[in-house]
Each structure stands twice: as C-alpha cells, then as structure tokens.
Symmetry: C2
C-alpha cells in the first residue's frame, strides 16, 4: 500500500492526487445531478448513529474505505441544500467557483487573525467588501468585515450599540451599578430570532427587546416605534438600538427604513439593518429602493452565503463606526504583537473570534466568475420564477397567496372551509409534498395562520422545477381534501 | 466558450470538471511542496490592495483568468500556515483527508441548524465527538458540540456559568437590578485573551476577570485562587467561573486542574478547562495526566483544528450540563419548528449561531484516515521533535530555555549581557530569521522578558526542518552579536 496512515506525516502525495481526482469526478457529477437525490433526507432519527461504530478506529484506513462509507451511510442522511428543488427556509447555492475556492482555502489553511499571518486574506477581504458595497449602493463610510453568520454579525452590531451608549461597559460590565438604567432594543414582530439570542448573550435580557407591531404587509410601523420609544423613555428605559429588516424570514417584507432611519437619527439610537437575505437584490436595476435609507444606518448585515451563491459560511457586516467595534473588542496580548512597515488592519481587532478562515477567497471567485451583470441576471431570474409561481397561486381557486412577493419567496396556502381547517390541511400538504423527495418547502405563520413558503435561491432551479412543485402541491392537496 | 458566466445557472458542469481537475493537480503539488514557498509572506502593507481593481468586474470571467490572478497577486501575499517550517503561534495542519472533506462539504453545502436539514451532519457530530471524548479519557457525562473557534466555545461555557448562577439573566438581563452583585471570573495571568473578550461580550466587564498569579513554571497557584475567592466573597463579589488552562498560549504550561477542580466543587463555581491546543495530547500513552481533573470540570474546550490535523475551523466544547446552554439559548421561531418521528437534537439549540457548517465530516475523515494509533504516533513525533530542539538549546552556551516543554512548543532565547540587551537582541533575531523566508517563529514574554517560541504542529515537519531552524537561529544570532 502506497499509503500507510500509521506512519508519521500526511497522506502520501500521489495517493492524495489520486483520491482528489476521484473525488473531483464525484463532485462534478453531484453538482450536475444533485436533482436526482431525494432532496429531504429519508433516514429516521438515530439511523446514522447506529450505522457507525461507537469508537474511533485504532488503525488508519484508506480513503476509499472512508469514502465508501460516506456514500453508503452518510449520503442517505444528507438533506440536499444544493438541490434545485430545495425551496425551504432560504434556498442557497454552493456554486462551482465557490466550491473551488473553498477547496483551495482548505489546502492553504490560512488563519487570518493578523495582517502578518494573512496579508492576502486581510486585504482581499477589504477589496471584495468594497466591490459589494458599491454594487449595493452603500456609502464609502461603511467599512466591512466578514464573519461566519448573520447571528454573529448582528451580535457585533448590538455590542457596538451597547459600547456607544454605555462606554464603561467594557471595563465595568453591567452588574452592580445602581446608576445604569434598563436598556431597550427595538425590532418588529417579524424579526429574526438571532436578535433575541444577541440580547440574551449581551446581558440585556429578552425583556429588553421590544417587538413593534407591523402593518398588513408585515412591515414595522414607524408610528408604533416612535410611540414605544417615547413611552420607554418616560418610563426610564434607555433606548439602545433599532433593528430594521429588509427581507424578513417569514414573508420577506421590507421595513420602511427611511422613516426608521430618520427617527433613529433624531433620537440618537443605533440603527442596524438586517438585510441578510434580501440585501443583495439592491444590485438589480429597479430594486435599488430596497436599501433606501440603509445608507443612513449605523450598521447593516448582508449574507453572500444566502442569495449570492457563496458556499456557507460568509456573512458581511458593514458598519459606519468600526472604530466602536474595535473599542469594544481590540485586545492584543504580547504573543500577537507585530511590527509592520505601515499601519495594517488586523482582523482579530474587529470581533470576538480570534481565528478567522480565508473566506474572502470564495467571495472573490464568485464575484469574478459571474461578474456584476451575471449576479444581477441570476437574482432577476430567481425573482421572475417567484413571480411566476405567485401568478399560478393567484390564478388558482384552490390556493391563496398570503403576502406580497418582493423577492424570491412566496407565502401561500391551500384554501379550506375555515382557518382551522386550512391550518390542518396545509400542515398535511407540507408533509406530503416533502415526503415525495422531489421537493422541500418549509412553513411559517402569518397573522397566526399556517403558511407554506416556497423559496428560490439555487442556481440550478429552473421553471421546470417550480412547475413540478406546483403540480405536486395541487395533486397532494386534492388527494388530502378528498380523503377528509 | 463552453462557459458563459453571464447566462443564468451555475458554471457548466464539464467546465467545472476540467477546472477542478486542474486545481486538484495544483493543490496536490502544493501539499507536497509547500516548503518551497517563503513561509512568511513578503508583501508590504497595501501591495495586494493596490494590485486589485477597485470595482467588481461587470462581466463574468473564465476560471483560468481568476486562478492566474490568484497565483500572480494573492499567492505572494499568503503566509503559509500549511508549511513544514511554520513554527509560529500554534503550528497547524490542513491535512490531506481534511482538505478532501472540506471540498466535499462545500459541494454539499449543508446547513446543520436542524436535524431535519442535516441528519448526517447532526448525528456524525455526536458520533465523532464520542470517539474523541473516549480517546481523551473524558467521562460520558460530557456532551460535545462543534463550534468554529475556541473563542466561541469558551464564550458559551461562560454564558452557561452565568445562566446557572443568575437564572433570570435570559429574561431580565443584568442591568437596572439593584439586587444583583458584581460577578467574578478567575483565570491565571497566562490565560488566553479570548477569556477577556468573552467577559466583555457577556456584559461582565474586564474588571470581573481576576487574574491569579502563577508559579515558576507559569501554572495557576491554587492557594492564590482560594485566597482570591475568599477575599472576593467577603467584599461582596459573586464568583461565577474559573478558567483553568491545559497548555497556555505563551509557554504551554498546565494549570493544576485536580486541585482547582476540588476548590471549584467546594465553592460551587463553574470550572471551564481551556485545553484548546494541548488537550489532544492526552490520547498519547504516558500523557493521560494532562487532563487529570478535567473530567470533574463543568466544561472543556479542545480544538482539532489546532493540533489534530483538521483544517481550520473546528473547535469542540464538551459540557457536563449542555441543558444549561440550551436553557440559555434555545429559541424556536415558527419557521424553524419541525415534527420528527422521535426526539432529535437540533444543533441550533446549543448556541448563538443559527447557521452551522458540516464540520464533523472533516473530523471523521481525519480520525478514520489516521486512526487512533496514527494520531498518537504523530503527536508523539511532534513532542519528540520539540524535545530534540529543547536539547539543542540546553546544550548551547549561547541560548537558554525559558520554560518546560510538556508538549510541542519550546520557549527560549539567545543570551546577552543584560536582560535588556537580550530583549533587543532576540527581537532582532526574530525579524532576521523570519525574513529569510525559510522559517517563521513568533514570540511572547515570560516573566516580563522577550522569549522566542518555536511551535511544532505541521505533519510535514521533520527533524531536518528544525535542524535548519536551529542553524538559522545560531547564524543570525552570531551575526547580530558581531554587528553590535
């Protein structure tokens, strides 16, 4: 055997080359034909665990053996996010140029904590985030930084808001201080759960998060926000931040950011815009309006791993006051001090994570491979497909649409005699179509009622895929209605 | 052109196959010959930025063009972490099986937030962390979870300690509550900066972090810890957690965990063990002692991306009370509710990040490819190389060793007439050897004096590499001494 894993050193180089070429062919087939797999894994809880041994092997094994087990044991337990009929949550794409970039990044294994440990990773992050900022029409005062997830981006935004409002927090913390009032964060009742988790982690408590009611199209009501702030101030709360959303998770509604931004400016409250999913659409001609007012915000998150064809994970935080994030977190122990010929940016200063992957590489390869026009064409096509599906829903007497479709997500449901019947029916429709293996959708609740959600975001999704989804939905709805 | 990036859809499948095979050959060469590159990037600040355009390309570009720019512009700006003469910080390896796993993971693009969205990723995480737990001799009460970095693992451990001590924190937060005393966290004066960042983020403030003095071998003094806790209690502080370190960043010292664990049990204080770098060495026969007492801890972090040949990032938190982490953070909005046939683990419940990559795949491939014996052989070899280098230092009249060498890191310096002269000389030696391009070491301060640090952790590092490093160190030290 050319490859004896029990010796020291890495895998034999020629063995790596052979295995990597074999894997390349498997991946090329997979990317071309991922649609042939059942999109939702069909295993039962515990199946994978019970198929695997309870202990690590004592002796090393050839890569063929390991890969054969991947195909036999793990692959049936994969829910295929890179499948053209993955319509759940927010549909995403690990695009071909992005996959190549991740492969290269793993081989380089760069850790981008300091400029010195990663000049190319550090500077490419600045360059690519400049490109994206301009494509989205955001002001040059917005400095960008890459984190793993929107949860972490938003956490940093709210930590910065806390730092600005209570500058002593870094040194003294929040406890045991009589003079410190309760702090308040505002978002709509449609806002993502990551905001709740952030206020918990920051020690503000869920009570600090006041959820503002929304209008008939699920958009935060600025009048209700203004009233809440006024009421809180007179009750002794100190407003800390407002989180406005461009593309909410349930219905992709767009909060009225221009009005909210004006209010925040007047009240001196940090405005964070969560544009994690939909922000990228602002690069499409005719859609610039969706980020109107976001340029006035203090910070904004947008996730290229959601709807910009970049393999998971890559979230971008733009911030008008990155110096405040640095003031909150920069801290250089002796073993990380470096002396350079000119001032440099050390990425570890902009966050709580010391270690950082070379994530800018995939963003760069994706943006260059598709180009700005290519990105726009793909986003437009996804919005066209969503409109097409929405039209089918609107024209059907058996279904109804439950929210506007500004982007690539359609919320709808099968009609029934009563709202309660509709809830029960649509829950069963969801399970039925998902168990076909041909499509995967998820649900939400809008105005308290169960809603089906069809989200488009995979580069291989075509009109044939949504037509098949529509057929399956109608077929199973009829069958389930007949069975009642 | 077979690949027109301006059309909709992903890269043409056959174009992907061709490009991926070419990239595979490049990566195979790179992994075999990374030692031929200057290990530390030789670019000046701004070089990369100025070589790249300020705007994204309008039109998509062929992958060849992009990769040519990678080689021409970015590669000179790479500091080669996967280089056999990378001896700085903690040296790491993006091993061949790990690189293949990351490639596959990028193509699958699984997002492991819910069991349903990733049965294989969710269950493989449980299985591989069980394997690792047993290899390290940790108790079955330790449930494991994978995060990106030790910073995030430790943050969750301290968040859990906060949740246990102040159960109302999730709802009410820490502010505006007269009854809440100041909270205290303890660690040694050698502890990693991630602890400081965690207490800042959690709203405890840096003042809450009390750094306990260490003994002559840089280990936390349990008597000093006991005295600090007693003093704090009588001054009205509420002790929250102790962080003990197994393998500190400066000198890889090992805190006396058994005594600290007894003290924490008596005082009912959460004990978190930071074994991010050195914990894996407990699997090597004769080294079981290093995790003695860690089984009594409440939580422990160990990073396979540091010294277990797993491409960055993959940090593991083991916790005896994962239910407390869930109590702190679990929160399921309607759009993430699922119904399964049996109770399942949803990974989003164990943390602040909703999105999670399929990281267990690389851990599984690395552990299977090398096997337990192969991992032990490689860790032993790195410790043998460090002992060899330490012996050279000890035998030289021109150098002195500054700390014990329990693992794979040697702290030493060139001798000089006075401590101040030694500081200046060794700073210059560091810059001189690093600018050769043949090796990369970093520094720290021990007892206030500048110390060189040589860290071994790359699978391709052999005795020849450390011998060359020793030659370069002696040669440049002599030259710099002569120049004075």
């Amino acid at each position: 055997m050319t490859n004896d894993p029990s010796r020291v050193g890495d895998m034999d180089p020629e063995e790596f080359r052979r295995q990597a070429h074999r894997l390349t062919d498997w991946i090329a087939d997979y990317l071309a034909e991922s649609g042939k797999y059942p999109v939702l894994a069909r295993v039962a809880p515990g199946d994978i665990t019970s198929a695997l041994p309870a202990d690590a092997p004592s002796h090393g094994e050839p890569f063929e053996t390991i890969f054969a087990d991947f195909e036999k044991i793990l692959l049936p337990g994969i829910t295929h996010w890179n499948h053209p009929a993955f319509f759940a949550y927010f549909a995403i794409t690990g695009s071909a140029p992005g996959v190549l970039a991740e492969y290269l990044s793993a081989a380089l294994n760069v850790q981008a904590m300091l400029w010195r440990t990663s000049p190319a990773a550090t500077e490419l992050e600045g360059v690519t985030l400049g490109w994206l900022r301009k494509l989205l029409g955001l002001p040059s005062a917005f400095e960008g930084v890459i984190y793993d997830t929107a949860s972490i981006s938003t956490l940093h935004a709210l930590a910065a808001a806390r730092e600005r409002t209570v500058p002593s927090v870094r040194q003294l913390g929040l406890t045991g201080r009589d003079a410190l009032p309760r702090l308040r964060v505002y978002c709509s009742d449609q806002t993502h759960s990551s905001i709740d988790k952030a206020v918990i982690l920051l020690g503000l408590g869920q009570e600090s998060l006041r959820k503002i009611p929304t209008d008939a199209e699920f958009r935060m009501r600025p009048d209700a926000l203004a009233a809440a702030i006024a009421e809180d101030r007179s009750a002794g709360w100190l407003p800390l931040a407002v989180v406005a959303t461009v593309g909410t998770t349930s219905s992709t509604s767009v909060d009225p950011v221009p009005q909210i931004a004006k209010l925040c400016a007047r009240e001196s409250i940090w405005l964070h815009v969560d544009a994690a999913y939909a922000g990228v659409a602002a690069m499409v001609p005719g859609h610039e309006w969706i980020l109107e007012g976001a340029g006035e915000a203090d910070s904004m998150v947008v996730n290229p791993h959601k709807w910009m064809f970049t393999p998971f994970d890559l979230s971008v935080l733009y911030c008008r006051h990155m110096n405040i994030i640095r003031a909150a977190f920069a801290l250089t122990p002796e073993y990380l001090k470096t002396i350079e010929a000119a001032p440099v940016r050390n990425l570890m200063d902009t966050g709580i994570q010391l270690g950082r992957r070379f994530r800018a590489l995939k963003l760069w390869m994706v943006m260059r491979h598709f180009g700005a026009d290519g990105l726009r064409a793909r986003l437009s096509e996804h919005m066209r497909l969503a409109q097409t599906f929405a039209t089918w829903v609107d024209r059907s007497s058996d279904f109804e649409r439950l929210a506007p479709v500004p982007f690539s997500v359609v919320c709808f449901r099968a009609r029934a005699a009563s709202p309660e019947d509709a809830d029960r029916l649509n829950e069963r429709v969801l399970e039925a179509v998902n168990s076909t293996g041909e499509m995967f959708i998820s649900h939400t609740r809008l105005n308290g009622r169960y809603a089906l959600r069809l989200a488009i975001g995979n580069l291989q999704t075509t009109e044939a895929h949504i037509a098949r989804a529509w057929d399956l939905l109608r077929e199973h709805t009829s069958r389930l209605r007949g069975a009642d």
